[in-house]
């Protein structure tokens, strides 16, 4: 927790800790309510809920229909040893995850940029005692949307293509929760890191929709890369998350199938959360000092 005032000191008594914790929670709820209010003004969310996921996933499934053939197994050399034979499941699982992740990057990653653009960033900062509640509040609001979006996406996918799932429920739930935490962590980190970049949204778009979606191998196995690029791809947490999700949702395997990757993602997620909150404090202070807080 960090207050926007530089004179803020950590509480010394238990009651002071409790008071600050309650304030933090109330600040977060204020931001969540504000976010839902803003969100409700843009009615396209309902349309996005109904057709957005389909429009994101369908082109790749149609590409699979064209090159593999509907109902035919994946037989290429790049799939040897992967045990994945159903291209629909292979594509749909990570693409659902990418789709949901993109909403996080849009909501949280673009949060500060959007406030700057609309001239309300300073107002939002002075509304709360703890600035990081901007992230937590927005996350609370986004989780409501994410839940509806996830249900509608999965329902749509099952109605449309009915992928052959073989789910290890416990492992899948753990991996999905880890994925959500990892995405939020990355969104916090990027949003904080790029406060002083006037077109920060662009940098985030390149990072999330280009670099991550290419290197993490959402739609193809990363063995297609040369060795050095595979090493870079394996440094990206989402590469492991997609693999874990495929293993737990399509193969019925547990986390132990990729235990090393799982531990790596947990550590990366913790790092990104800490980094995001620390950088928010540092970069806000820098932006204030330079007078560039409201620049866009």
């Amino acid at each position: 927790m960090q207050a926007h005032s530089s004179s803020y000191k950590l509480p010394e008594t238990a009651s002071a800790w409790l008071r600050d914790a309650i304030t933090y929670w109330l600040d977060s709820l204020t931001i969540a309510k504000y976010s839902i209010f803003i969100f409700s003004r843009y009615r396209s969310w309902l349309l996005n809920l109904m057709i957005g996921p389909f429009l994101m996933i369908a082109p790749f499934v149609f590409l699979g229909d064209t090159l593999v053939g509907e109902g035919k197994p994946l037989t290429g050399s790049y799939f040897t040893g992967t045990e994945f034979t159903d291209y629909i499941g292979f594509l749909v699982v990570p693409l659902i995850a990418v789709n949901l992740s993109n909403t996080v990057f849009t909501w949280i990653g673009g949060l500060i940029r959007q406030e700057q653009l609309m001239g309300t960033f300073e107002r939002a900062l002075v509304t709360t005692q703890f600035t990081s509640t901007m992230f937590i509040g927005k996350t609370i609001a986004h989780l409501l949307y994410l839940a509806i979006f996830a249900v509608s996406t999965v329902a749509l996918v099952f109605l449309w293509v009915s992928p052959e799932f073989d789910v290890n429920l416990t492992a899948a739930v753990i991996v999905i929760i880890l994925h959500v935490l990892c995405v939020y962590g990355m969104a916090f980190a990027m949003s904080s890191l790029l406060i002083r970049v006037t077109d920060s949204w662009t940098v985030q778009t390149v990072m999330t929709r280009a670099v991550l979606s290419i290197l993490a191998g959402a739609t193809f196995p990363i063995v297609i890369f040369p060795g050095w690029l595979q090493a870079i791809a394996k440094a990206i947490p989402f590469t492991w998350i997609f693999e874990l999700e495929r293993q737990t949702l399509l193969q019925g395997n547990g986390i132990d199938a990729e235990l090393g990757g799982f531990i790596y993602v947990v550590l990366a997620t913790i790092f990104m959360w800490i980094f995001g909150f620390v950088m928010l404090r540092v970069e806000l202070a820098n932006a204030k000092r330079r007078g560039s807080l409201g620049n866009f």
Binding site: L47, V197, T202
Partner: protein, 305 residues
């Protein structure tokens, strides 16, 4: 119009990261598609594609479709902020839309001025993709004089379609005050059902029906057919081109209708309910524009600066 285009260019240059992304984003979007196709067909050749289309090289099939789609300029998921509709949305968010619309020129001129920048951008993207695939990756289109002329015709159709869809998209953005509406109603569906990198006949109904009434499908197919000799939607490339051109003319009429300002007080023609809001804005601003021409001129000078 030229001044507005320059203004749009200077605005883009101000955001240098975005400008750089506009120049290279088409490559970023293409890479996952190419790699997925490569993995699925275990290389460049595809027996399955040959059975379906008569073309065995999936790389050429995808590149040609994507070049055409890049010329259209609305298929790039990374360029959600790079289009006429989003330029208008940006002006709305920053509170400068009214100031811009007070300029003593027709609103359609403003939109076309913005559109010029995007025509140049997407032509650049299509050209670099085509040349890059040809010179670096040994992409093998059938280059004949007739094929090249037809391909240029298809590109022209796509560029004009790009502007007209942008204008209609701007109308949606203004009417709903929501730039995602344009994305969901025009941008993504046009991408999905165009068949830029898959075979349309494999899509289930009603997607297949939508593909066959989608002007973008015919333009993409005509471009690909012109450079491979095998159009897929029609019997000949010429028919696909004529169909795409006819659709584009219809879209131009629709776009012109949306921004028609010739009637008394700008009120003539309210064909579609959701466009009424725009017409109302137009009428109000037209009267304001007459009343404050000197102010508008000074604002225009400011904008140019």
């Amino acid at each position: 119009m030229a001044q507005i285009s320059r203004n749009q260019l200077s605005l883009s240059l101000r955001y240098q990261n975005r400008f750089r992304m506009e120049l290279i984003s088409h490559v970023f979007i293409l890479i996952p598609i190419i790699l997925a196709a490569w993995a699925f067909s275990d290389g460049r050749g595809s027996e399955r594609l040959e059975q379906l289309t008569g073309l065995s090289d999936q790389f050429t099939f995808i590149i040609l479709g994507f070049v055409a789609f890049t010329a259209l300029g609305i298929g790039n998921m990374m360029l959600q902020e790079s289009h006429i509709a989003f330029a208008i949305s940006y002006e709305m968010m920053t509170g400068t839309l009214e100031r811009m619309f007070l300029m003593p020129v027709r609103r359609i001129t403003i939109l076309l001025g913005i559109g010029n920048y995007y025509i140049a951008l997407f032509t650049f993207q299509a050209l670099t993709l085509f040349l890059g695939a040809w010179l670096i990756f040994g992409f093998e289109p059938e280059l004949t004089t007739r094929g090249l002329l037809f391909a240029l015709w298809a590109v022209l159709v796509l560029v004009v379609t790009n502007v007209t869809l942008g204008i209609i998209g701007a109308a949606l953005t203004l009417a709903f005050k929501d730039n995602q509406m344009y994305m969901l109603v025009i941008h993504r569906p046009a991408a999905l059902v165009s068949g830029a990198y898959f075979f349309i006949d494999l899509m289930p109904q009603p997607m297949k029906f939508l593909a066959y009434i989608n002007p973008v499908s015919y333009a993409v197919d005509a471009f690909r057919g012109a450079l491979t000799g095998t159009p897929l939607l029609t019997d000949s490339t010429l028919i696909a081109l004529l169909a795409a051109s006819a659709y584009t003319v219809a879209l131009c009429l629709l776009a012109g209708l949306v921004y028609r300002l010739d009637g008394p007080n700008g009120t003539r023609g309210k064909p579609i309910p959701f466009l009424v809001a725009i017409m109302d804005i137009q009428r109000t601003n037209r009267i304001r524009c007459r009343q404050s021409r000197s102010l508008a001129v000074s604002i225009r000078i400011t904008l140019v600066r």
